[in-house]
Amino acid sequence: MKNPIITVQSLKRTYLTHIGLLNKEKKLVEALKGIDFEVYPGEIFGLLGPNGAGKTTTIKILTTLLAPSSGQAKVFGFKAFGEEKKIRPRINFIFGGERSLYWRLSGLDNLKYFADIYKIPRKKQTELIDDLLKEVGLYDVRKRKVETYSKGMKQKLQIARALLNDPEIIFLDEPSIGLDPVAARTLKNMIRALSEKGKTVLLTTHYMQEAEELCHRIAVINHGQIIALDTVEGLKNRVKNEQNSSQMPNLEDAYIHLISEPNIA
């Protein structure tokens, strides 16, 4: 078996929040209560779980944007907090929806700017950006301002941005949120193509069908804990056995069964 490209061990994260305007009361939120998982090179790994489960927190830690409160998070064997400079050039991420772009700039200018801050040599940029724009199907509208783009177009531009530095791992947090079925299918095909090129993809989604079609393995996370981690078939089988049913459930049924189980820990 190959060595894991991502290793997460006993990972915890708490947030300190202030409630109330005057009498600022402090409240500690335990977003991750000690999770463990590994992702292998070339895998499409899904993180499923209800809102507030801790999916985004996990991705933020792995993308070096957030410090763990305790435990380990390693990418390429490097600590996500402490050795981030070794990780950043080799990964990229998209956080859901239409943000993370400059709406007042054209699609082309967005990519040029990001290419500069990703330290891609100017000589390589023109060809690379043209290729990416063609790949995601935005070449004809590249000079239009992003604010005139549809949701699906913005999402495609995000993908082009995330591919600029030819990352080995791509983190996608709810990438298909708000996309129409056609755009969602295009996105699915792109993710699959990335994996076929050997890239590792870690994604979160609320769409079970998408997860079922794409993910090699899935971790189901609830209240900051991983409650199941297996292949799609494995998850379905487990639920089938637990329910003593003769019929194989679909992933959605299995998921709902899993997250409504009483909390074990």
């Binding site: 933020k60 957030l66 981030e84 943000r99 993370s100 709406w103 700039l105 801050i117």
Partner: protein
Amino acid sequence: MSTINAVIASASQQFKTSIGRPMFRFCVIGQPILFGLILGMIYLEKSNIDFTLFAVFGSGLSTFWSSICFSSASDIHRERWYGTLETIYSAPVGFKWIVLGKIIGNSIWGVFSIGLSFSVVVLLFQRQIIIGNLSLLLVGLFLMTLSLIAIGYLFAALFTLSRNARIMMNFMEYPVYILCGILFPLEQLPLLIRSFAYVLSPTWAVKIIHLAVSGSSLFSAINYIVGLVVITIIYGVLAVYFFEKIDVKCRVEATLEVY
């Protein structure tokens, strides 16, 4: 090489997009004109030197200061709202270089606003403008620009850490007008406050500009020039230090995102 490219890209992106925002446009176009008018009226009856110092340069410097204050705070905040802060924060080139580019981009507009208020006051009031030592003036303006870039940089570092930075920014804007001798002579302030003013680099820049207007030699301004350079370097070092600090702190405290 690619780091310099990224700083330039960030500066030119900032230069191009910031002027599209109504608030910033007011800051670099509206405010110099208004300040020029107001200060021109106030100093109309005063000597040519006072008029030059406080109406012509006072309006320019104060608007430059406003645009630095305003932009260094709101730029970081805006990126947070766009959701781009995380992307530029973790970009391989290094967040501090991208921010430096932004401040430089804004400062180019700041220099423009000095020119604008200068022209407005000169054209409208038709007063004799006195510049005793042009080369010293240029040195002063150049150093002042560098030093405001350093201040903006320092602020931006602090603003990455805090989501409430806007309040702080508004809090800083006016005291500097008062403390640094931009709108009236520093000597009018009580001694205790005056000594505090020397921690702020605009004070030193204003001194140099005043000496230049009154025709002093480069040599006689050397103390202030050295002082300004030293303070600017201190600001710069502090800013870099803070950028190292925030790299850890904003990930521990989760301040990169809107929440």
